[in-house]
């Protein structure tokens, strides 16, 4: 195998320039594709990419018709803009036995912290059901009771039109996957939404304190909040 000087025909290195150039081109194009697919190395899952995208540039959430536990109709934009509070939003379905219980207890912790720190005017909690076919006002009432929701801190709504479900989930970047026994799996997180309907941050379920900080940072100053409340 050790051939010092060989005629070109049998030299293993001969004619490799084209191959090296082609391999290098394939490698560079491939790395560029990988770079783009990971948002410049921001993450390799859809969830981390969704979060980093929103952190870079807020996403405008479209308006939807909602129904609450009292059967009252309301638009999402009106709800969000009602008093200048920044909202921490999550998605639930009331029949959910597992993840939403976790989410529910995270929201219970958030509720307790908001009350404890006296932040009711600055931060609100909003749970939106993505199962409008099953979650009507009666089911919402039962869920609100079970979660011990305080209406002045934590609001619960469902979509009025079941047909809006897809658009709502897409606008937040939620994917719901059917699981056994009629359940759903979905990417659960804490979504920080400003009163003007801009989704500004997405945080992990285990970061409730960070979600409150993000909401406070995204919101009005206490003075501005007082002016809005006085109006």
């Amino acid at each position: 195998m050790q051939a010092p000087v060989q005629p070109a025909a049998s030299d293993p290195m001969a004619g490799l320039a084209a191959t090296f150039a082609a391999s290098l081109a394939v490698l560079l194009i491939g790395l560029a594709a990988l770079f783009m697919a990971t948002g410049g190395g921001a993450g390799f899952t859809t969830e981390t990419l969704r979060r980093s995208q929103v952190a870079l540039a807020p996403a405008a959430i479209p308006d939807f018709s909602l129904v609450d536990a009292q059967g009252q109709l309301q638009s999402l934009h009106t709800l969000l803009a009602q008093d200048g509070r920044v909202w921490i939003v999550d998605f639930i379905y009331t029949r959910c036995p597992t993840l939403c219980l976790t989410l529910g207890s995270v929201f219970q912790q958030l509720q307790a912290q908001i009350v404890e720190q006296g932040l009711q005017r600055q931060v609100g909690l909003l749970s939106i059901s993505f199962d409008p076919a099953n979650d009507r006002p009666a089911e919402l009432q039962e869920y609100a009771r079970r979660m011990q929701m305080r209406p002045e801190v934590w609001q619960l709504v469902s979509l009025q039109e079941a047909a809006d479900r897809r658009r709502l989930l897409d606008s937040f970047g939620i994917m719901v996957v059917p699981a056994p026994r009629g359940e759903f799996e979905h990417n659960a997180a804490l979504h920080v939404v400003r009163p003007d309907g801009q989704l500004v941050r997405i945080l992990d379920l285990n970061q409730p304190a960070a979600a409150i900080d993000a909401a406070l940072a995204a919101g009005l100053t206490p003075l501005q909040a007082a002016v809005v409340a006085a109006r």
């Binding site: 195998m1 394939v26 697919a37 990971t38 994917m175 799996e185 979905h186």
Partner: protein
């Protein structure tokens, strides 16, 4: 003679069948399989696409050899020792192992089309590369590709994070285990093939002579 002709027809037929099977999984009614199960997507459709590309390349190569036995062709010139083919297959494989790209292939038809074309081409490139790579180069490729498969498989099976928004955690765990098994199986098949066809062709034969 007739048996030989039957055998010769087997390769294009299986190439077409495997490719068609892989394509069928991307259109309804079978599409629901890859939409609902990561196992069907990553362990059935993706390997079938690679196998389909490899079989088609093998059929094409046989037909070309029969027509012009001595020609190397432009592809041969840019794929000496199979280097470019292996590089292409590694890059394509790494790309479609990212959870984010797998999700995209489920949701976006354009991404799904890109997946089909690139994995099929990766299979063809692999076939082209193995035909002209000496055992050492093959080992280098196998030694980087298979540990990647095993590592990703172990990660998918052992993390409690749901990595693909499109699939359930149970589906992800099953896929991880299957990916480890498939990687080990591929390694075993390669070893068996190396023992079986001890003599490589093309560039590899030249390299051995050199």
């Amino acid at each position: 003679m007739s048996a030989e002709r039957q055998h010769a027809g087997l390769l294009p037929a299986s190439a077409a069948a495997v490719t068609a099977g892989a394509l069928a999984l991307s259109v309804p009614p079978l599409r629901s399989l890859i939409e609902q199960s990561m196992v069907w997507h990553m362990l059935v459709q993706m390997p079938l696409l690679v196998a389909g590309g490899a079989l088609c390349a093998a059929a094409l190569q046989r037909w070309r050899r029969a027509a012009r036995p001595a020609a190397i062709g432009w592809l041969g010139h840019i794929n000496r020792y199979g280097l470019t083919g292996f590089m292409f297959a590694l890059v394509v494989g790494a790309y479609w192992m990212l959870p984010a790209t797998v999700d995209r292939a489920v949701v976006l038809p354009a991404a799904d089309a890109a997946k089909i074309v690139s994995l099929w081409l990766a299979g063809a490139a692999l076939r082209h590369a193995f035909g002209r790579a000496p055992a050492a180069v093959q080992l280098f490729f196998i030694g980087s590709a298979l540990p990647m498969g095993v590592w990703v498989g172990v990660y998918l099976a052992s993390t409690d994070l749901r990595l693909c928004n499109a699939y359930s955690l149970a589906s992800q765990i099953a896929t991880g285990r299957g990916m480890v098994a498939l990687s080990l199986l591929a390694g075993a098949v390669w070893l068996a093939g190396l023992r079986g066809h001890g003599r490589p062709r093309g560039d590899a034969a030249q390299a051995l002579q050199g």
